[in-house]
Symmetry: C2
DNA sequence: ATTAACTGTGTCTGTCGGACACAATAAGGT
DNA sequence: ACCTTATTGTGTCCGACAGACACAGTTAAT
């Protein structure tokens, strides 16, 4: 699986020329997922789009799990470069870039849940994030934990705001209108703080993302400046 | 769906006595998920354990999506009480409680991905979290955003450390040994910062959780103290 | 020319969620 | 007491899915 992700497989010497490539298959799967959601990505559907038989795909990929891993790493792409920024600016830009990526391919929020092998693009993202914190006084574990906090927050917000072709949305949208508001009003006494908090008019676009980023980066700055004394 | 979650359905007057209850079905599903992972929860499997026919379940639940929603809210349970704590202590305890919940039922990490109706227990968790921030000077949206950051972080760490019966783990464990370390060493020049960061010996138990909580709470404290001036 | 490796295809199985019709059951209205 | 009517659990059926396996055609090494 790791070999697949990293393209580590020597081409066979004999036999017919392969009619497809692994990335070609993954790109077809990405197109489907972008257009119709991750649930629409089945072996049959991908094969039909190429077009080829379903079983032919298994010559390139051991199973669907692996295909999803490959298409996920491919869709993530390489992290954009932002030279000449402070660690804080760099991490902020990194987070926004990641958020944009999740918005470009909302199904990544579903396909990258749970432990999975790290592909080259994900490694590049990790590297770029950690890079911003080298020389900050944090040790390696702290650097990794920091970008983990950031990526986790980006995921959380993206999951709330993303609109996927397959349906499913965050709290503040459909869910609220779908009877939840009524029920909450009926049982307002059980959740007084929540009801009160929901009365506040929600802020502007991406408020949740920026709010969390500011808090996390503030917290990091506090630690870093303490370390640099 | 919302009515299901909140138990809002009047019992029918006529017809045979129901042999099961919705919560009974959900509890059976929870048992299966706890023991064998979320993937093992199929309508057939739940029915076999009760024991009853698969189709009988559809008299109590419209579909699998709804069953998962009900069992998720049920497994989450009510948030523990921690009276007499400062907002910071309360939010810390709240996060740890949530983390424990995810560890008790690791499949919650998978079943609660994506937008879904909020059930009574999830509402109670939200309420308890927001409650800690009432009177802090933050407005309702900021309070909600704050606990969203915290819950997102808890999710992230739980997802990394959780061991699920269905397999799948985080970055720092299996994944790393499964050839990733070797590949990363081979391509060390492509990811210099990442390789350097990974060289640091990893810290103690729950380091990632506490590190992120400290940063986030520090960031919140900064904002709150600024607001209270 | 022969062999051996590899490709894409066709066929098959088991599992899944769910639709639908049916007989058994229990209450309400008369 | 009777009949009507809503509701239960069951049995049968379907389409979609992931994947196993055998097979024929294709290409390079020998």
């Amino acid at each position: 699986m790791t070999e697949l992700l990293w393209g580590r497989q020597q081409p066979p010497s004999r036999g017919p020329k392969p009619a497809m490539t692994l990335t070609g298959i993954a790109e077809a799967a990405i197109r489907i997922a972008d257009a119709e959601g991750l649930d629409a990505v089945s072996m049959q559907r991908v094969a039909d789009d190429l077009p080829v038989t379903k079983m032919a795909l298994y010559r390139y990929v051991p199973g669907k799990t692996e295909l999803v891993a490959v298409m996920s790493d491919l869709a993530m792409g390489e992290p954009p470069e932002h030279p000449g920024l402070s660690w804080r600016e760099a991490l902020h830009a990194w987070s926004i870039d990641l958020f944009d990526g999740f918005n470009r391919h909302p199904w990544l929020l579903l396909s990258t849940v749970g432990g999975r092998p790290v592909g080259p693009n994900e490694a590049a993202w990790l590297d770029r994030g950690v890079q911003a914190l080298t020389g900050s006084g944090l040790n390696g574990t702290e650097q990794l934990d920091s970008i983990l906090v950031l990526s986790g927050h980006v995921r959380t917000i993206a999951l709330q705001t993303a609109t996927m072709p397959g349906g499913r949305q965050g709290l503040t949208e459909e869910t609220f209108t779908a009877g939840f508001a009524g029920i909450l009003a009926a049982e307002a006494d059980r959740f007084p703080s929540l009801v009160a908090a929901l009365r506040t008019p929600s802020g502007q676009e991406n408020q949740g993302l920026e709010f969390g980023l500011d808090r996390i980066l503030d917290g990091l700055e506090l630690l870093i400046s303490a370390r640099q004394d």
